[in-house]
C-alpha cells in the first residue's frame, strides 16, 4: 500500500551504507599490515544486518577485490592539503597512523555521528576534513570511480548514505560529514592519549600544554568506551528500527481497514438511496394512476347525469307540446285526452328528477402516505437489520462441566449491536418443549455460558439485533457440557512394582465417551511434574504400566463430546511391592475385616446360623476371604502376621475356587495350613488335598508368600528369619488371588506393598 515503496528504499540505503564501509576498508587496506589489523574487520556491525544479510555478503567481497586498485588511485590523485612532496618513507608511517585512527574509527566512526559529543573529536584531530562537501575528496573518489566504473564510489555512496541516513534518522546531512575519514596524518609520533575533556586524542607530549588540567585516559581505553557507547547506540537504533517497522505495519492495517469501512458505508448509502428513489417513483406512479382513475370516474358520472338530464328535458318538452296540442282540440276530445294526459303528467311529475350533482367538481383532499419513505429516509443514517447469524458447532475441548463456549458468526456486511443467545437443555425422551429457555444478551460473537449441568446436552440458537431490528434466529446447535470428574475407588486400587490397576466411578448419569488417566511421578527429580496420560479408556478401570519403587499421583478425567472433565481427586500409588485390598464380597460371614482393611479377625462367637446366599463368590464353608491381586504375571510378595497358636491357612486360589470347599482341598488352590494339636505344630502345604511331609522347628510369626508367575512357583517363608519353608510348582493358567482363612478364632494381619526381601529372590 502506501508504505510499499518505503521498505525497499530503506533497504537500498543500508546496502549503500555497507558499500561505504567497504570502501573505507579498501582505503585502509593500502598497507599490507592493515589486512592483519583486526580493528576494521572486527567491526561487524552493519545496519544491513537488520534487513538483509545477503546484501552485506554480496557487497563485501566486491569491496575487497577492489582494494588494491583504489589505493594507488588515492595516493596518486590526492590533491588535498597533504604535502605532495612527502617522502616515500613517510608514507608507511602515515598509513600506519591511518590504521591507528581507523582502529579507533572502527568503533568510532559511526559513534561520531550517533553520539553528539564525539563529533568534535574529528574536528580537533582533522579539522581539514571538515570540508563542507569534501570536494577535494570527491575528486579523488571520482578518480577511483573512473578507474572502476562499475563500483560504488565514495561520492555516490556518501550522497546516498546521507540521504538514507537522514531518511532514517531525520538528521542533518552536515552531521554526517563528521565521519569522513582522514586519509592522512601529519603527526609522525604515534603515542596518543585521549583527552576526556576535549573528547579528542592528543599526543602524549601535548598533554602538558593544552590539556594540562584535563582528564586524560589511554587511547585504547577511550577506544573501548567509545566502542561500547556505539554498540549501545546501535542496539537502540536497531530497536527503534524494529519499532518503526511494526508501527508502519500497523498503519498499513489501519489504512486498509479505513478503506474497507468507508467503501462499505458508501455502498450502504447507495443502496439506501436507490431504495428510497425507487419507493418514491413507485409512489408517484401509483398516485398518478389513482388520480387518473378518479378523474375518469367523475367525468363518466357527470356525463351520465348530463345525458339523463337531457332525456328528462326532452320528455318535458314533448309533454308541453302534447298539452298545447290538446288545448287546440275539440272539447270532447280535449276532455278525453286531458284525463289521460293528466294521468300521464301526474306519473311523470311523480318521477323525481335528480338534480343533485353526482360528482363534486372540487378535488377531494388526498393525503399521501409517505411514512414508509420517511422510515427509509430515517434509516439511511443507520443500518439494515442484520440477517440471521450462523451458529458454530461445538469446538473440541471448549466445554467444562458447568459451562460451554458457544460461538457464532454473522455475515460480514451486517452491523450488529448485540446478540441474543438462547438455550435450553435437551433431554432424551421428553420433547423438551417444557424445558425452561434462557436468553442472554451478548456483545461478542461468542459466549461462555455458565452454571450448566455437567454431561448434558443443550440446544443453542442466536439472533442478532441492531437499531434497525432483529434478525431471524440462527439454526439450533447442540452443545454438550463436559462430564463431571470421575471418582476413583481408592479402596480398590491394586498395584505391583510394574503396574497399577485403577478403578473409578463415572460420576455422571449419562454415559461418557472415554476416560483419561493422568499420572505424575513424584520424588523423581528428573521427571518432576511431568504428567503422562493414558487416553481413550472405554471402561471404568485401567491397568497402567509404572516404574518400580516410585510414588505416583494419579488422576482420572472423563471425556465426552463436550470435552474433558476436571481431574478427579488424586490417589497416590506406591510401586513398592504388590498392594491389594481384601475382597469383601468373598468374605465368609464369620470373618471380620478391620477398619484399615488388612486385619482379618475371627471372633469367639459362633458364626451366624443363617446360610449365606448360594453363589460362588463368598466363602461358605471355609472361613476365608480373598484379596484382589493385580492381574500382572510378574512376581508378587506379601506377608501375613500370624499367631503361633492360631489355626490358619494362607495361600492363593483362582477366583473361581469352589467356595464351599476348604482351601487346598482342590486343584484350584495352593495353601500353607497350620494346626496346633497337643502342643505340636503341624504345617501342611496343601494342594488338591495332599501335602508333603515337612517339619518346621521354629513356628513362623510372619509368613512371607512369593507368587512367581514367571517360574510358576508359590513359595512360603518364615519372614522373620528368612527361612524358606516350601515351594509349590503350580500351573497358573489364570490369575490367582491371595486367600486367608482362620479355622478357629484368631486373627491374621496382612502386610503388602512391601518390597521383596532379597532372600526370596533365590526361589
Amino acid at each position: 500500500m502506501c508504505y510499499g515503496p518505503r521498505t525497499p528504499t530503506r533497504r537500498r540505503a543500508c546496502e549503500e551504507l555497507c558499500g561505504c564501509r567497504g570502501a573505507m576498508d579498501g582505503e585502509a587496506g593500502g598497507a599490507p599490515e592493515v589486512h592483519r589489523s583486526p580493528a576494521p574487520r572486527d567491526f561487524h556491525f552493519c545496519p544491513t544486518d537488520l534487513y538483509d544479510s545477503e546484501g552485506r555478503l554480496r557487497l563485501f567481497p566486491e569491496e575487497h577485490t577492489r582494494t588494491g586498485r583504489q589505493v594507488p588511485a588515492e595516493m596518486t590523485s590526492e590533491p588535498g592539503g597533504a604535502a605532495p612532496g612527502k617522502a616515500q618513507s613517510d608514507l608507511e608511517e602515515e598509513v600506519q597512523e591511518l590504521v591507528d585512527l581507523y582502529a579507533l574509527g572502527g568503533g568510532g566512526e559511526w559513534g561520531a555521528e550517533l553520539v553528539d559529543g564525539s563529533a568534535p573529536r574529528v574536528e580537533v584531530s582533522e579539522p581539514r576534513l571538515h570540508l563542507p562537501a569534501a570536494g577535494a575528496q570527491r575528486d579523488w573518489r571520482l578518480g577511483a570511480e573512473a578507474e572502476d566504473p562499475g563500483c560504488l564510489g565514495w561520492g555516490a555512496a556518501g550522497r546516498d548514505l546521507r540521504e538514507a541516513y537522514r531518511y532514517a534518522h531525520g538528521r542533518a546531512s552536515e552531521e554526517y560529514e563528521c565521519y569522513v575519514i582522514p586519509e592522512e596524518e601529519d603527526e609522525d609520533e604515534a603515542a596518543l592519549v585521549f583527552c576526556v575533556t576535549c573528547k579528542a586524542p592528543v599526543r602524549a607530549c601535548e598533554v602538558s600544554d593544552a590539556h594540562g588540567e584535563h582528564e586524560v585516559t589511554p587511547l585504547s581505553k577511550a577506544l573501548e568506551s567509545a566502542k561500547d557507547e556505539i554498540h549501545k547506540n546501535m542496539f537502540k537504533l536497531e530497536k527503534q528500527i524494529i519499532e518503526m517497522e511494526n508501527f508502519a505495519n500497523h498503519l498499513e492495517e489501519v489504512f486498509i481497514t479505513v478503506e474497507e469501512n468507508f467503501g462499505r458505508q458508501e455502498q450502504n448509502f447507495e443502496s439506501h438511496f436507490n431504495e428510497i428513489l425507487e419507493t418514491l417513483a413507485q409512489k408517484y406512479e401509483e398516485k398518478i394512476q389513482a388520480l387518473g382513475e378518479k378523474k375518469k370516474a367523475k367525468l363518466e358520472a357527470l356525463y351520465g347525469q348530463l345525458v339523463s338530464c337531457g332525456e328528462n328535458l326532452d320528455t318535458c318538452k314533448e309533454l308541453m307540446e302534447t298539452i298545447e296540442e290538446m288545448c287546440h282540440e275539440e272539447k270532447v276530445d280535449f276532455i278525453k285526452d286531458a284525463v289521460a294526459m293528466a294521468d300521464r303528467l301526474g306519473k311523470f311529475l311523480n318521477t323525481e328528477t335528480d338534480v343533485e350533482i353526482s360528482a363534486q367538481p372540487d378535488f377531494e383532499d388526498q393525503t399521501l402516505d409517505f411514512s414508509d419513505v420517511e422510515q427509509l429516509m430515517g434509516s439511511i443514517n443507520t443500518i439494515p437489520a442484520p440477517s440471521a447469524p450462523v451458529i458454530n458447532p461445538q469446538a473440541p475441548n471448549s466445554a467444562t462441566g458447568s459451562s460451554v463456549r458457544v460461538c457464532w458468526s454473522l455475515y460480514s456486511d451486517d452491523t450488529v449491536e448485540s446478540y441474543l443467545l438462547s438455550y435450553r437443555p435437551v433431554q432424551d425422551g421428553s420433547p423438551g418443549k417444557d424445558q425452561a429457555e434462557f436468553t442472554m444478551t451478548v456483545k461478542e460473537t461468542y459466549c461462555s455460558v455458565r452454571n450448566l449441568v455437567p454431561n448434558t446436552q443443550y440446544e443453542f440458537w442466536v439472533t442478532a439485533q441492531n437499531r434497525a431490528g432483529r434478525s431471524p434466529a440462527s439454526e439450533r446447535a447442540m452443545y454438550m457440557t463436559a462430564p463431571s470428574p470421575p471418582v476413583i475407588k481408592s479402596k480398590e486400587i491394586r498395584s505391583c512394582e510394574e503396574a497399577a490397576l485403577i478403578c473409578w466411578e463415572s460420576g455422571n448419569l449419562n454415559p461418557v465417551d472415554s476416560y483419561t488417566v493422568e499420572l505424575t511421578q513424584a520424588e523423581s527429580p528428573e521427571a518432576s511434574g511431568v504428567t503422562e496420560s493414558v487416553v481413550g479408556i472405554p471402561t471404568r478401570e485401567a491397568l497402567v504400566q509404572l516404574q518400580p519403587r516410585q510414588r505416583y499421583t494419579i488422576y482420572v478425567r472423563a471425556l465426552s463430546v463436550g470435552g474433558p472433565s476436571a481431574r478427579s481427586d488424586p490417589v497416590t500409588v506406591y510401586t513398592t511391592g504388590s498392594f491389594f485390598h481384601l475382597n469383601q464380597h468373598t468374605c465368609h460371614p464369620g470373618l471380620t475385616i478391620s477398619e484399615d482393611g488388612f486385619t482379618v479377625v475371627r471372633s469367639e462367637r459362633k458364626t451366624p446360623a443363617k446360610e449365606p446366599l448360594p453363589g460362588n463368590t463368598r466363602f461358605t464353608r471355609c472361613v476365608a476371604v480373598m484379596g484382589n491381586l493385580i492381574p500382572i504375571r510378574g512376581r508378587h510378595y506379601w506377608e501375613v502376621e500370624v499367631d503361633e497358636r492360631s489355626h490358619y491357612t494362607v495361600g492363593v486360589a483362582f477366583e473361581d475356587v469352589p467356595k464351599q470347599e476348604d482351601l487346598g482341598a482342590n486343584c484350584l488352590s495352593w495353601c500353607m495350613r497350620h494346626r496346633l494339636a497337643s502342643s505340636r505344630h503341624k504345617y501342611e502345604f496343601l494342594h488338591n488335598g495332599t501335602t508333603p511331609d515337612i517339619r518346621i522347628t521354629v513356628s513362623p510369626r510372619k509368613i512371607g508368600i512369593l507368587l512367581d508367575y514367571e517360574n510358576s512357583k508359590l513359595s512360603f517363608f518364615n519372614a522373620d528369619i528368612s527361612q524358606h519353608l516350601y515351594t509349590f510348582s503350580c500351573q497358573l493358567h489364570q490369575f490367582v488371588h491371595p486367600c486367608f482363612s482362620l479355622e478357629k478364632p484368631g486373627c491374621l494381619k496382612i502386610h503388602n506393598g512391601i518390597s521383596m526381601p532379597k532372600h526370596v529372590t533365590f526361589y
Partner: protein, 282 residues
C-alpha cells in the same frame, strides 16, 4: 603343602578338578575334589564343603549328585574331601565298611591306634579350608557345609561346634544322633573310647542343646523309604525335637518314596545348593 592335580574336567563352564596333597592332620596323602565355577575365573567365590557318607571317596559326590549346574549358576566353589585317611596301615582299618577306611566319622580320634591319622574333624574344619583359601579363588569369610548320611552328621557337627564359621548348613539323611545309633556307637567307641560324654561333643542332637543360638538355617531332606531310617541309624526326630525346643530353625522334608542313595541326593541337590547360595551370596 604342594597340591598335585589328579584330574581336571570342564563342566558347566567351570572346572571339576581333583587334587592330592600331603595332609598334616591325617599323616597321609589325601585327595579332594574341587569345582571351580566360571565366576571363579574373575573373582573370589564362596566355598561350599560337601562331606560324603560311609564308604565314599571324593569321587561319589562329583560323579553322581549332579550338583555342577546349580553350583555353576550360583557361582559356588564346591569342595568334596575324602571320607577318611587312606593307606595308613592301621590294623583293622579295612575290616568293616562302617569303621576305619571310608568311615572317618568326622571326629578327631583320641584312641590308639586311630588318633594319629583319624583326625577328620580337624582336617575338614581347619586344614582343608586353609589349603583351599590359600590355593583357590575363594572368599574365606563365606563358607558353608553340607553332607550326606555320615557326612550329614559331619556337616551338622561342624556347623554346630563352630557357631558363625559356616553361613549355612544342610544335610541329606544325616546321622542325627550317633550316640544312640549302631553306627555311631561303633565308630565313637573305636575312635573316642568308652566315655560317652566325649561322644556327645560329636553328636548333633546333643550339640543343638548347647548351641548358643547364632542364626543357622538348617535344611534336611530325608527319604521316607530309606532303610537306614527305619533301621534307627539316622534318628532325625531326636534332632528335630531338640531344635524345636531350642528354636533352632530347621526345615525337615520327609520325601515320600526316596531311599538313601545318590538318586535321592541328585533329586534335591539343587534345593540344597540354592539354600546355601541364599546365605553365601546374600
Amino acid at each position: 603343602m604342594a597340591l598335585k592335580q589328579i584330574s581336571s574336567n570342564k563342566c558347566f563352564g567351570g572346572l571339576q578338578k581333583v587334587f592330592e596333597h600331603d595332609s598334616v592332620e591325617l599323616n597321609c596323602k589325601m585327595k579332594f575334589a574341587i569345582y571351580l565355577p566360571p565366576k571363579a575365573e574373575t573373582g573370589k567365590c564362596p566355598a561350599l564343603y560337601w562331606l560324603s557318607g560311609l564308604t565314599c571317596t571324593e569321587q561319589n559326590f562329583i560323579s553322581k549328585s549332579g550338583y555342577h549346574q546349580a553350583a555353576s549358576e550360583h557361582g559356588l566353589v564346591v569342595i568334596a574331601p575324602d571320607t577318611s585317611p587312606r593307606g595308613c596301615n592301621i590294623k583293622g582299618e579295612d575290616e568293616s565298611w562302617d569303621f576305619g577306611t571310608g568311615a572317618g566319622f568326622y571326629v578327631d580320634a583320641t584312641e590308639d591306634p586311630w588318633k594319629t591319622n583319624y583326625r577328620m574333624y580337624s582336617y575338614v574344619t581347619e586344614e582343608l579350608p586353609k589349603l583351599i583359601n590359600a590355593n583357590f579363588p575363594v572368599d574365606p569369610q563365606r563358607m558353608s557345609i553340607f553332607g550326606h548320611s555320615m557326612g550329614g552328621h559331619g556337616a551338622l557337627i561342624c556347623a554346630l561346634k563352630n557357631p558363625g564359621k559356616y553361613k549355612s548348613v544342610s544335610a541329606f539323611a544325616p546321622i542325627c544322633n550317633p550316640v544312640l545309633c549302631p553306627w555311631g556307637k561303633k565308630a565313637f567307641s573305636g575312635y573316642l573310647g568308652t566315655d560317652q560324654n566325649k561322644w556327645k561333643a560329636y553328636d548333633a542332637t546333643h550339640l543343638v542343646k548347647s548351641y548358643p543360638g547364632s542364626q543357622l538355617d538348617i535344611l534336611i531332606d530325608q527319604g521316607k523309604d530309606d532303610q537306614f531310617l527305619s533301621d534307627g541309624q539316622l534318628l532325625p526326630d531326636n534332632f528335630i525335637a531338640a531344635c524345636t525346643e531350642k528354636k533352632v530353625p530347621v526345615v525337615f522334608r520327609l520325601q515320600e518314596g526316596y531311599d538313601h542313595s545318590y538318586y535321592f541326593i541328585a533329586t534335591f541337590i539343587t534345593d540344597h545348593i540354592r539354600h546355601h547360595a541364599k546365605y553365601l551370596n546374600a
